[in-house]
Symmetry: C2
Subunit: 308 residues, 2 copies
């Protein structure tokens, strides 16, 4: 159902590393492979063939998924701190997690439960809304460059530059030639960013139209969720096929060697959260940050401290 | 041991509200009052009289404290979401949590465990380091103004403008007349900020010199903590009394009606985390954000959605 990138690309190297470690460390995960391997997209990937209720790379249930998330949280915390620590001694590595998905696909839940489980000291979170007047006066990647993570940080994009080839394409916000050029501009930026040391993890939360309808209905049935409801969301449902087409194009054109797309089936919220957490974890494992060695004489410092 | 602000100030109004609710809702807390009441500083407050191992406002133990934190987390999450939701319909309210403390006082733990328990979508976290060259070219409050929370957000300052009357005073980084003027400038800014709708919660994590020595020793004994160790931290210990004096002055001069200081004994990490979480919770309860009413006809929308 899901095509894989060719064996000759860097993604595979990453996957091979993380699979090996994942097998050793993630007891609850599907023994056949990692989430990185199971969710990567490549040549010939067809979004319409991806079942939003499936759970690629995982054969446990919801309770086991929650257990796995809790069990791997300390390792994720250590890796995040190591990444941050390395940056204090000159390390250039960072992570950029890009989260996209249709309305109600669960982006907020990913932020609360996955990003929220990380140390906020090392997280650089940015939500991209409709461009402000100032942002509109600049090229579309201007605000993206300004929000990139610094070395040691895990940057999180809640929506991203991909809106400029999604909503902009579906609603004809710019001429066809303009959005048509953007795929290449995005790839160029992402290549520059990865070359500078940032590992990019691009996630599309993939829900079904029926699931979106159920989630919007639930919002209407709960007064405390009314503030999240937007009447325009219903109008947008008419454009569902156009959005799916725009996502397919973004994945096809921008799932590159240096920054592949991961499509995460998201009709089951627990699976989507587990999958995104494990994707970040597996990429951090592959980056393998280390505790920096002391830049001072430990015994001398102990003596100095003892004398105070 | 700990003086209270006069009954005629706004702090008391806030305390009275939150105490009432706290009694009803916080099972494990000291029935005699809230953390807000127990930790507020006012006229005559003497830092040296505050025992860093005490647990004001709470008579439970570490395990009970962890239970209380977990038990009140859903309420905190709801209040945070309500604050955020209100801002979407024109609400101006925000929170600014300012965290100060000597090295090793546990600021990082507060960020991980208290700020980390909040939804990152509504948190605006800023760590203030030594000013950059650009920052140095501006008045000291310039970078502070740029980092203030937007309506609906919980802003978090990990260190803050108070460094400009703490390290700047202790190390004579600026002339005495300069730092001397800053207390008034800080009070003026904070008054402007609170008038615009932001509730400021200023927390000093108060540790003892002995506890700092123990924590620095622990860092030296654990290779994975060496990156956090700075040889200058030992030199700074010689200036302990000067820092305590600078904190005393900051609390005396800047514990105002609109933005009081809370001194949180921090030799017991579990207590400090509980206290800061409860301080934020109690202030949010007093702000009492509400779910916005629907701005659309719910039945009409249900019918429109059903038709898709």
């Amino acid at each position: 159902m899901r095509s894989r990138p060719g064996r000759d690309n860097a993604t595979i190297v990453l996957m091979a590393k993380s699979t090996k470690q994942a097998k050793r460390e993630s007891g609850g995960a599907d023994k056949s492979g990692s989430f990185t391997q199971a969710l990567a997209t490549g040549h010939g990937f067809v979004l319409a063939d991806c079942d939003p209720r499936s759970t690629p790379g995982y054969n446990g249930d919801k309770a086991a998924g929650a257990e796995l998330m809790a069990a791997t949280a300390p390792e994720l915390a250590d890796l995040q701190e190591q990444l941050y620590a390395e940056s204090k001694v000159g390390g250039k590595a960072a992570v950029l997690l890009v989260v996209q998905g249709m309305d109600t696909s669960g982006k907020g839940g990913i932020m609360r439960h996955v990003v929220g489980s990380m140390d906020p000291q090392g997280v650089h979170y940015t939500a991209f809304k409709a461009p402000t007047r100032e942002e509109q006066e600049h090229p579309f990647l201007w605000r993206i460059r300004n929000a990139l993570p610094q070395p040691g940080e895990i940057g999180v994009f809640d929506r991203s530059h991909y809106e400029d080839v999604l909503i902009a394409r579906v609603h004809n916000l710019v001429p066809t030639a303009t959005w048509g050029r953007r795929y290449g501009q995005i790839n160029a930026l992402e290549q520059t960013v990865t070359k500078a040391g940032t590992t990019i993890v691009k996630v599309m939360l993939h829900i079904s139209s029926d699931e979106q309808k159920a989630r919007l209905t639930a919002r209407l049935n709960r007064p405390e969720k009314h503030w999240k409801y937007n009447a325009a969301d219903v109008d947008e449902r008419e454009r569902w096929p156009a959005y799916q087409e725009a996502y397919q194009a973004a994945i096809e054109k921008c799932s590159t060697e240096h920054a592949p797309w991961f499509v995460v089936p998201a009709d089951r919220k627990w699976y989507a959260r587990l999958a995104v957490q494990q994707l970040v974890l597996e990429h951090l494992r592959a980056m393998a940050p280390q505790w920096p060695a002391a830049t001072f004489d430990v015994e001398v410092e102990k003596a100095r401290l003892a004398a105070t």
